[in-house]
Structures are given as structure tokens and as C-alpha cells.
Amino acid sequence: MSDKVAIVGVGISRPQKETPDISYKEMVYEAAVSSYNDAALASHRDIDGFVTCAEDFLEGTSIFDEYTPDQLGAVQKPVHTICGDFLHGLAIATMKIKTGLMDIVAVEAHSKASNIKTYYHIVNYALDPVWNRPLNVNPYYVAGLEMRYFMNNTNTSEEEIAQVVVKNKKNALHNDLNCFGASVSRKEVLKSQTTFSPLRELHMSKHVDGAFVFVLAHESVAKKLQKNPVWITGCGWSSDSPTLETRNWDECEYAKRSTYMALKQAGLKNLNQFDFFEIDDTFAYKELQHLEGIGLYEKGSAGKACLNGDLNTDGKTPVNISGGTLGVGALLEASGGIRALEIVKQLRGDSGKRQLQKAKRALALSWRGIPTTSGVVLTFEGPK
């Protein structure tokens, strides 16, 4: 692939636990304006195409793509919606630019989770309507089952998983976007209420509201729009089986395949070439499972690395410097935004107190949540 694509503008409506004073449209507008300004676009009319990420039931509206164009300045433009994480959206936008059809594409995802009264109830509708849904149990049991399987299969201890929570919540304290940053001890995590055994209250990320809009551009225009473009060097995504009965519980197949695809595009052979990682941590064990899935750690060793401090900001392989969704908050389809934003800030050298000394290459992974087996991996390279 010869055509390079860069992130040239980032904008957000900051994550908040509740946003009773603004609508999702206003949040997206705020993110879009700041992103277009960041990209030094003369006008939103300069954007050739738009990708938005949404799911009907989370919005409470069918064919939600109807309500995407106005607040993005995308009226009468090529706009479409995908069912995927924000990182999927970045991948599709990258693809659009590589076709040669477009030079500048904007990507949007948002969360108005505070509007959802019964999130579990909605997730239950994602379970197979014939085999699983009639059981009528809270769908988070799937995470409990998977965590138990992961612990047994890899000899990962509760202590090690608790350390993920300690690390991410601590990292979040340095991120001005955080909603759940905290100094907690492993003991506190292990004492928090059991929700879906062995899953505990503090293992689970909580939803927040917020919006992300990024502007991507072809290399021919990227440097005119942004003096510090962050290059998207590889995009991989994959799905394992949607049914609980036939999926591979043993390996994190989607993480493995997505990483392979992204690395191949980026022309990289191994993960040692990355300086830091922003990895899905919807549940604390997921961070470790994903790190083993992408191949950064051998099976059963990610937890030990976490306990040793290797995943800390000053460790060998910093993971979730942003604080992840455990520390910042989960944003439904926009969760990938936290990861991509942190990477852009780090690679631009704009991360302030938590700036890594060496930040040249980074990898992000998002997972679409229970009960899916769909994930996406993007690799990034800094401007210098």
C-alpha cells in the first residue's frame, strides 16, 4: 500500500458521567468544530467524506445514520455509518482515502450512555434469540464465564487481574479526561463486590458520555493541515464466531488475527517495535487476555508482567497510559476514541505530565463488548 494516511485533526466532547444539559448532536458538534480547527481546515466543506459509528438500540433510534450529518457539517456529502468501534471507523476512513476517491475524511463516534436506562437489557438482545436469550439472565454472565476460563487456562491470579485496575485507575489520575481515576489498592479491588463471579465491581468499566471526531488525510495534503500528522500505518479487524457455543474460548482469535493483519500492512515483524499500547480493558481481565491475544506476552504471562510493573507508564511495555476505560470511562462505540486520542497526543508530544520520553510507534486494540468476538487493531507512527 503506497498511499499513506494520517490523523490531522482531533476533537472531543469530554467524557462525563452525565450530560443532562446537552444532546448527542451538540456533543458531536463540539467535537467536530474542535477537530476541524485542529486540522486547520478552512471549512467543513473541504471534507470529502464521513464515517460514523453507531448501533440502533444504543441510540434508541432505528437506522440511526439518519441523524448523523447536520452536526458534522456533512449535509449532502458522502456519509455512511458502520456498526463498529471508533477504531473500526478510522480503519474504514483510511480505506476510503486509499481508494483515491477522497483526500480528507472525518470519523465520528459518540456515547450518550446516560440516556440508557437498562443497558443490560439491551445487551441481552444481542444474545442469540433462540438459544441464549430465553435463559433470561444478565448477559454479563458471559464475561464472568470468560474470566473464569481465562484464569484457569492461563493460571492468572486474582491479584494479577486486580493490578490492572490499580494501574489503569492510577494512570487515569494524570489524564484530565478521566471520570474514574483513583488510588486504589489490590486489596480494595479484591474486596469489591462480586458481580458475576469471579468478576467484581471494580473489574468492570462504567459508561460515560462523550464524543470524538477525527480528521484523516492523504499524505499529499496531511502536512498542509497539521504540522504533526500521526500516521495510521496498519489496520486489522476480525470476528470470531458470534455464538457462545462455537467460539474459541481458548485463544483471543480476533485479537490475534487483527494484529497479524495490521502488522503486515505496517511492514513490522514484531511488537517490540512499539513504544506503548492502548488496549481494550472493558473488564480488567480483558486487558491481559488481549495482551496475550496480540502476542505481546506469552499465554499466562501478561498478569505476571502487570504485577511486576512492566505495564506501568515507566515499565517495559506501557499499557493504557490514558487510564483506559477503567479509568476514563467506557463510551460504547466511541471507546476506541480514548485510545486513539492518547496515542495522537503522545506521538505529537502533547501529553504533558504523562508524556513518554520515547513515543514513536503505538498500537491500539478495541473490542466490541459482550457478547461479540469482534475486535480491531490499529498501528500508529509519530510525525518525526
Partner: protein, 394 residues
């Protein structure tokens, strides 16, 4: 919009397949998707192992009552252990999904792609119109409990009043499409009708008559796409995608003039530019415009610049748009005749172009060795146009 650079590869349709369209399928949504995907792969002599990525298109989750319906349908669509993504633009999805497939291959990231569109509307009881209630704005529209017949009746009325078109003029479209569908083996509502029968059919919401509306349907369609290198090895008769375009108008549909679909024109101009088409009326041999209502075929032909404004009905009245006419329109039988499983309906049109341009449409084959075809779909709040142009020569 101006196309920036040449695509990394030409993209061809190399296989197509579909299920029957019917009111109530006994198959599950996954089974429908599987049946169509398998038929498309078999038509190209391929297996899933030959497929690099899968693109799924389906419209509201509310029909099936399944959250993240794309994930649920992924194995039935062949997405297991593959890059799989669902895209949607409401009713425009059926033509947008192959465009999404085109993006995958033209970007140089993949060599082959399987595009599957599925819709099962019959699960929605008592009637899928109930699901459509949830497409409207929560605050300013939903409390009025509108349904699709209402709002399209408004658009049809506006179209008729602006150009002085009668219900009888529009009825010719129903007669033509339902008759064309009699020869389609997957059709749900093929019929031999007269204009009088259409005009005298019950009024659903003035001026929409019962025989001017497509039915709710269950069904799935699939196509296989490949880059130039692979396409030539797979088949001797690849059908090339030479132009793609899509365009989304404002959510505030009440603020636009419903007489003319500007967004369809913009989508068409994007596709024409890419395909190098300067005189669409002369260069397009077969048209499959979106016809969920009889007037929509006319409305869209005008937006596609294939008929002058207010004059599209003359094509049907004079027989120009008949299967044997100068510019066959909906030779498949369209949504009015074949059926309207929302997202799958648009892809059915792309399948029809594939068969017509390969001269494999059997008794439906349009005469004169057509070379260039156009399929278009439309959806959301009378808001989105998606256009694809296909050729049997590169």
C-alpha cells in the same frame, strides 16, 4: 466532488446469488444470509477460503429485535475468522454494501470480498411498520406516530403537484414492474395488471394506492467482488464496477423540497464522474432505480439525470422503460414486483445488473447486448442516495 487519484485496483463483480423474496420465510435470518452467500460463492466457483473479507448490509435492528444484528448475522454471512463489518444507510444499504465492498478492494487492502445483505421483516409483529415508527425524531416527529406511507404520500403529492402528474401516469410503473417480475424466479408479487386495476386499488394514504407500494419481505442477496488480477482468473465474464456514489442529506426532511431528490443527483454525479459518463441518457443501457413506491422510480430517474424533471412518467407510458424499450427500467421487476426486504432489495438490483450484463438473465434478458447498467437505492428519511455503475467491459 472530484475524484482525487486512481483506485489501487479495478473491482469486478464475479458472482451473485439470492434467496426467494417472500412474505414470511421459515428460515432464520442467519439461514437466509447463508443461502444467499452460498449461492453467490457457487456461482463464482469459489469457497469461503477464497474470500479475504466480508461486508454485511442490513437495516434496522428493530425488525429482528436483535441488538448488534450485524454481529448476530456474521457467521451466516461467512464472516467467521475474517475481517467483517456491517455498514448501513437505511434503505440505501443494498446498493451501499457493494460500494463498501468496492472500498475494501479498491483501497488495495483486500483482493476478494463477499457482500451479503439480509432482511427479515416478518419477525416484526404485527407489522414491520411498527419498527419504522422508531426511525423518526424522538421529540418532534415520533409523538405524531407517523408511518412510512404517510410521509411518502406527502412526497408523492408534492411531486405530482409540482409537475402536474396524475395517479394514472404513475400507475404505469406498477403495471410494468409487476409484469416484469412474473419472469423473476425469486419474485414475491409478480402480476399481470392493468392501469385501471392499479388506479382502482384501495387508497392507503392519498395518493398512494395499494398496488403502488412494495410489500414487506424476507430475503437475502449476496455478491462476490474481486480485484482485477483475481477477477480474470475467476471468470471470463467479470462485470466491472466503474462508478460509485453516495450522498446523505439533512436529517430535517421537512426543510427540503420533496419534489426533487438533490442527494440522488449528487450521488449520481459522483458515480458518473468516476465512470467517465458525460451523457447518462445515452450511455446507460439498463437502469435499476429504487422503486419501493411507484412514483419513486420516476423521482429517481429524474434525480439520476436519466429523465427530465417531471417527465419520467412518459418513459413508462410510452414503453421506453419497458424491458424491450430503449432504456429498460427495473427489468428485474423491482421492489414492486420482486419484493422489498429493505437492505437486500437494493442488492437484488445489483445482482440483476450482473446477470443482465453477462446475458444470463434468461427470459428477463433485455435485448441489444447491454454494456452499462446503473443501480440505485434510497432510504432513511427520504434522505440518502446510493448509486453504482457496472459495465461488462472495463
Amino acid at each position: 466532488m472530484t475524484i482525487k487519484r486512481k483506485p489501487q485496483s479495478h473491482v469486478a463483480v464475479v458472482g451473485a446469488g439470492m434467496t426467494k423474496f417472500l412474505r414470511r420465510a421459515l428460515e432464520t435470518p442467519k439461514e437466509l444470509a447463508f443461502e444467499a452467500a452460498q449461492a453467490a460463492l457457487e456461482s463464482a466457483n469459489m469457497t469461503l477460503d477464497d474470500i479475504d473479507c466480508v461486508i454485511h448490509g442490513t437495516a434496522p435492528d428493530a425488525f429482528d429485535g436483535v441488538h448488534m444484528k450485524g454481529e448476530y448475522l456474521s457467521d451466516g454471512s461467512g464472516g467467521w475468522n475474517k475481517p467483517y463489518i456491517r455498514c448501513y444507510v437505511g434503505g440505501g444499504t443494498g446498493v451501499f454494501a457493494p460500494i463498501h465492498g468496492w472500498l475494501h478492494i479498491a483501497s488495495g487492502m483486500f483482493e476478494t470480498a463477499l457482500v451479503v445483505c439480509e432482511e427479515k421483516m416478518s419477525s416484526c409483529l404485527p407489522h414491520p411498520q411498527g419498527a419504522f415508527l422508531t426511525i423518526f425524531d424522538n421529540f418532534i416527529e415520533r409523538p405524531l406516530k407517523p408511518n412510512l406511507l404517510w410521509i411518502f404520500a406527502m412526497e408523492m403529492n408534492r411531486y405530482m403537484n409540482t409537475y402536474g402528474i396524475s395517479v394514472r401516469d404513475i400507475a404505469h410503473v406498477s403495471v410494468k414492474n409487476k409484469a416484469n417480475a412474473l419472469l423473476h424466479p425469486a419474485a414475491q408479487l409478480g402480476a399481470e395488471l392493468t392501469v385501471d386495476e392499479v388506479v382502482n386499488s384501495p387508497i392507503m394514504a392519498w395518493p398512494v394506492h395499494r398496488l403502488m407500494v412494495s410489500p414487506p419481505s424476507d430475503g437475502a442477496c449476496a455478491v462476490v467482488l474481486a480485484n482485477e488480477k483475481r477477477a480474470k482468473k475467476i471468470t471470463k465474464k467479470p462485470v466491472w464496477i466503474s462508478g460509485v456514489g453516495w450522498n446523505l442529506d439533512t436529517s430535517y426532511w421537512t426543510n427540503r423540497d420533496l419534489a426533487y431528490p438533490q442527494y440522488v443527483e449528487k450521488a449520481a454525479r459522483m458515480a458518473y464522474e468516476m465512470a467517465g459518463i458525460r451523457e447518462p441518457k445515452k450511455e446507460i443501457n439498463i437502469v435499476e432505480p429504487y422503486d419501493p413506491f411507484a412514483y419513486k422510480e420516476l423521482h429517481h430517474l429524474e434525480g439520476l439525470l436519466l429523465a427530465d424533471r417531471g417527465k419520467a412518467c412518459e418513459l413508462a407510458i410510452d414503453g421506453i422503460s419497458a424491458r424491450t424499450g430503449n432504456m429498460p427500467v427495473c427489468p428485474s421487476g423491482g421492489l414492486l414486483g420482486v419484493g422489498n426486504p429493505i437492505a437486500a432489495a437494493g442488492l437484488m438490483k445489483v445482482c440483476e445488473l450482473f446477470w443482465q450484463l453477462r446475458e444470463e438473465a434468461g427470459p428477463r434478458q433485455v435485448p441489444g447486448k447491454p454494456e452499462t447498467g446503473l443501480a440505485q437505492a434510497w432510504g432513511d428519511l427520504m434522505q440518502v442516495g446510493t448509486v453504482i455503475i457496472m459495465r461488462n467491459k472495463k
